[in-house]
């Protein structure tokens, strides 16, 4: 039983990590239906920015770690959002009317560009990412079950999910986002500035990725220029599994993935860890072809 | 007594809590032109969708008879198998293969009438070659019948709305149906174009012997074309009869025609 619970916790940790990336992914994905291959790179850039800014502050100032954490998190959010918006402007905006697959190729190109940009400007090596999250003393007794960082990640995931859900469901901008995602022309005809909406979506999605980048880097203790690729793929998988464009779906999809991997590793073999996740994915999608929380794509004929 | 081509018995279609079609009985005789009318949301298109297998009917029976008068129950059959029984349709919201040319659209319609498989395609034996030649010729003939020949090599999406509607008819005819189901063929046409359509449909029935069931809101077309009319309202059949009978039916006037 304890073992089972431990695996559940391991699955939750992994799930929240995936969710933190998938949330931003599904925002962008929902609105322009673009398989944004470069989302993982935005996440990586967030982590790098935090590492750099945090490092500079640590070296040149004597600020306490928590202050540094918040400053570098803010910097990561700002810069990631900046990269996201700029990338949209350069590589996706001219392709709004082009076939979807063309935009996908542009995204793949962008992903290569960003990866190699960081590789060249920084380093190919793994860099240590010193944990900046202080240990909560009340957690120390349960240390073997959950660490502070894990707890912070899980809480952040839930908070971000709630925030995004409220944003989409109840705000004016959210309304505009839903309209834009369904019919861009009509959205304009009811007075929505779709450029602003898309830019905003990229900014929010990228900011979320940055939060993910910083927290996950804290958890893993190291980053390099390539961490975004797999993260991006996992986010894509989670987002689709949850149902394209659905915020709670992305989180649920991530947890399913995390759990599948955790239980697969725990009860069968970790060599096939990813394979379990994919098998579960296939089974779920065969049963529910539009994802866990996706609305059935009703087609009126 | 002519053969009954399509028989719908006690048929209902339910979406969630909504009974879009409610215990309806309809039959179509060979060689008739029958219209199905009714207010918006009455369930006309839904009925078409069930008959052609796009939706699975919730209750009741749908049966199609083939030229040898063998009756086949089609509930739950796949659309392509129903097409093979000789039913073809057009769509209310035009669904052409938009990047293919007009001619190619009609050639797709010939699909069930052709044999060539993958090996035929690759090795292109004699029979495949003749078949291919034949498809192009046959398709051109059909395009010509609907006055679309000059658009043969144009992508379907670049045709005007009216031409697209006619192309849908041409494509459906290419399957050599015994029964053609037309969903609002005159929508988006001006009165002049509607008149031409009237002639075209009459010709299809008279010359090709294709039975026709159509949904239409343009009463001038419905009244001049059809021999029998069914009226649906809120999923229920409220009237049935000749155009004159229906025109005079107070229930129909109240629910649908107005004035």
């Amino acid at each position: 039983m304890k073992y089972f619970l431990q695996l559940v916790l391991a699955g939750l940790t992994k799930g929240s990590i995936y969710a933190l990336i998938a949330l931003g992914y599904t925002m962008v994905y929902g609105i322009i239906k673009l398989i944004n291959f470069a989302h993982g790179e935005i996440y990586m850039i967030g982590a790098f920015t935090a590492l750099i800014i945090g490092g500079v502050l640590q070296i040149t100032t004597g600020l306490p770690p928590v202050t540094i954490l918040f400053i570098s998190l803010a910097a990561a959010i700002f810069f990631s959002a900046g990269y996201g918006v700029t990338m949209e402007n350069i590589a996706y905006k001219p392709l709004r009317k082009a076939p979807r697959l063309t935009a996908l190729i542009s995204a793949i190109g962008m992903s290569l560009v960003l990866q190699n940009y960081v590789l060249l400007a920084q380093t190919s090596d793994f860099l240590p990412f010193r944990s900046m999250i202080p240990n909560f003393s009340f957690l120390i007794p349960g240390k073997s079950l959950v660490t502070t960082t894990q707890l912070v990640i899980m809480i952040t995931t839930v908070v971000v999910m709630i925030f995004l859900t409220i944003l989409i469901k109840f705000t004016r901008m959210g309304k505009a986002m839903r309209a834009t995602s369904q019919d861009k022309v009509m959205a304009q005809l009811v007075g929505i500035d779709i450029n602003k909406v898309i830019t905003f979506t990229f900014a929010i999605g990228s900011a979320t990725a940055a939060i993910g980048g910083v927290l996950i880097a804290n958890h893993m203790g190291q980053i390099n220029f390539y961490i975004g690729f797999l993260a991006g793929i996992k986010a894509f998988v989670a987002a689709v599994l949850g149902g394209i464009g659905s915020i709670p779906g992305a989180v649920l999809g991530s947890f399913v993935l995390g759990m599948a991997e955790s239980f697969g590793a725990g009860y069968i073999s970790s060599a096939y860890e990813d394979a379990f996740a994919f098998v579960i994915l296939i089974i779920i999608l065969i049963i529910k072809p539009s994802g866990l929380m996706g609305r059935n794509e009703i087609e009126k004929v | 007594m002519s053969r009954i081509i399509l028989e719908i018995k006690d048929f209902s279609m339910v979406f969630g809590g909504l009974r879009a079609v409610d215990h309806v009985n309809i039959h179509i005789n060979d060689g008739e032109i029958v219209a199905l009318i009714g207010p918006n949301g009455a369930g006309k298109t839904t009925l078409f969708n069930c008959v052609t297998g796009v939706y699975k009917p919730s209750e009741g029976d749908i049966a199609v008879s083939n030229p040898e008068s063998k009756v086949i129950r089609t509930n739950g059959m796949k659309p392509n198998n129903i097409t093979e029984l000789g039913l073809a349709r057009t769509f209310q919201n035009i669904r052409l293969f938009s990047s293919m040319t007009a001619l190619e659209n009609v050639m797709i319609g010939r699909h069930p009438k052709l044999q060539a498989g993958i090996f035929g395609a690759i090795f292109r034996d004699k029979s495949t070659r003749t078949e291919e030649k034949q498809v192009v010729e046959d398709s051109l003939v059909i395009l010509k019948k609907l006055g679309l020949k000059q658009y043969a090599n144009e992508p379907a999406s670049s045709l005007s709305y009216g031409a697209q509607r006619r192309l849908e008819i041409a494509r459906a005819m290419a399957t050599e149906p015994q029964l053609l189901l037309l969903d609002e063929p005159a929508a988006g046409m001006n009165p002049q174009e509607t008149k031409e359509l009237d002639d075209t449909i009459t010709r299809i029935r008279d010359k090709e012997g294709i039975t026709i069931l159509l949904i239409e809101h343009d009463m001038s077309l419905v009244m001049s074309l059809s021999e029998r009319i069914y009226v649906l309202d809120y999923g229920k059949l409220i009237a049935e009869g000749s155009p004159d009978e229906v025109k005079a039916n107070p229930a129909v006037i109240k629910a649908y025609l107005g004035e």
Partner: protein
């Protein structure tokens, strides 16, 4: 004049923005171990000037593309670019053009060095892959992100059959195609109900599962260690490396020609039309009597056959295979070849495959900047040629003279 000033302002603003944006990553390099910070201010200048110039150029080109100014120019370019395509359709030109091409291809290995032959062979294998995936994506309209798994099927068919039974290349080639097709059908069945990106993700999953199985079943597949010393095809006797490479080049040429031949036939057949109808509107296609189940399975099986053959060729060319060659990135690159060249267009896909394999090779001179520039190339080509470099041209049927 005013316009120029405005342009300068926009460029300056872009430059400023990029300088802010790239600042942490371009300028600062921290070493948290030695606690040192390295400020590389000079880089900022490069970003600034670079952006200033490029953003100007970028806007100019985008403007030209949007507003079609210089329309005539692109028109003539277009016609030149398609001249090969056109002359092939012209009966009189066909024979001389084709024979010149043939001679060129035949003597090529004798003119260039070994490296060129080697990368050309790689490119040709990629052409076969691209054309195969084109059936799935271009004709069937199914986004397939696990194509590398089919490729792996072929490669491992040869590798394993050689390893365990010593089966030679020429036997493995058709068997590779068959195992590809079988695998295609296996994947095809479960995904019949899925559409769009849901299908894409499931194919991705299958691709990854296949790779994981190859990695983990090490008793049988040799796992990550891979299978080495797979023989190159011999011609009567065992050939020297040079000879074998050139021989393989010719085999690839022959197979590419065969692929093109089959593709053209499929494209222009009842089956090809059915696949395309399915990709354009599956409901309408079904209403036209097309069996979607059959069409989808055909798509997967047909697509997989070529990947299987390409896999055998790959194993023969590199003589060594391991699961690392069949990653998601490989599937993605094949997809890039298809879309970049022109989805559904045979000459386009061929060109796309050449570009995707040859650009990184010829960018080797840029050393570190190689993949960066490749990424840039992808973005730029997508934007300026959104329909692909050689978009598909539809067949024009002769309608007949009588206009009655």
């Amino acid at each position: 004049m005013n316009k120029v000033l405005k342009e300068i302002r926009t460029s300056a603003l872009s430059a400023l923005w990029m300088m802010i944006l790239t600042f942490p990553i371009i300028v600062i390099k921290v070493n948290t171990i030695n606690m040192t910070v390295n400020w590389r201010w000079i880089n900022l200048m490069w970003v600034g000037t670079g952006t200033f110039i490029l953003s100007w150029l970028w806007r100019y080109l985008l403007d030209r593309k949007e507003n079609g100014s210089g329309l005539k120019k692109t028109d003539t370019k277009e016609s030149r670019r398609f001249s090969l395509h056109k002359s092939l359709n012209d009966k009189k030109m066909r024979i001389p053009v084709l024979s010149t091409l043939a001679v060129l291809v035949l003597v090529l290995p004798l003119l260039v060095n070994f490296y060129q032959v080697s990368i050309m062979t790689s490119a040709l294998i990629f052409v076969i892959l691209g054309l195969g995936l084109n059936i799935v994506i271009g004709y069937g309209g199914l986004l397939h992100l696990g194509y590398a798994a089919f490729y792996a099927m072929g490669a491992y068919s040869y590798g394993l059959m050689y390893l365990y039974w010593g089966i030679p290349f020429w036997v493995a080639l058709p068997l590779g195609a068959v195992s590809g097709a079988v695998f295609g059908l296996l994947i095809g069945f479960p995904v019949l109900r899925l559409r769009g990106d849901y299908l894409a993700i499931v194919t991705l999953a299958f691709g990854e599962i296949a790779r994981l199985v190859l990695e983990n079943l090490s008793g049988f597949t040799k796992g990550p260690e891979g299978i080495a010393q797979i023989p190159r095809p011999g011609f009567i006797t065992k050939l020297s490396l040079q000879g074998a490479t050139i021989y393989l080049f010719y085999i690839c040429i022959a197979l590419v020609l065969f692929t093109i031949f089959v593709m053209r036939r499929i494209e222009d057949s009842r089956i090809g039309r059915a696949l395309e109808a399915m990709s354009e509107d599956d409901i309408a296609a079904q209403s036209m009597g097309i069996d979607l189940t059959k069409a989808k399975l055909t798509t997967f099986a047909l697509g997989a056959i070529w990947a299987g053959m390409a896999g055998v060729l790959l194993a023969a060319k590199t003589t060594y295979i391991n699961p690392g060659s069949f990653t998601l990135m490989e599937s993605v690159m094949i997809l890039v070849a298809v879309v970049l060249g022109g989805t559904g267009s045979i000459p386009g896909v061929i060109l796309g495959a050449f570009l995707v394999t040859l650009i990184p090779e010829y960018f080797r001179a840029l050393s570190d900047y190689r993949m960066l520039m490749f990424g840039v190339a992808l973005v730029v080509m997508s934007i300026f040629r959104p329909q692909g470099i050689i978009p598909r041209v539809r067949k024009h049927y002769i309608v007949g003279e009588d206009q009655s």
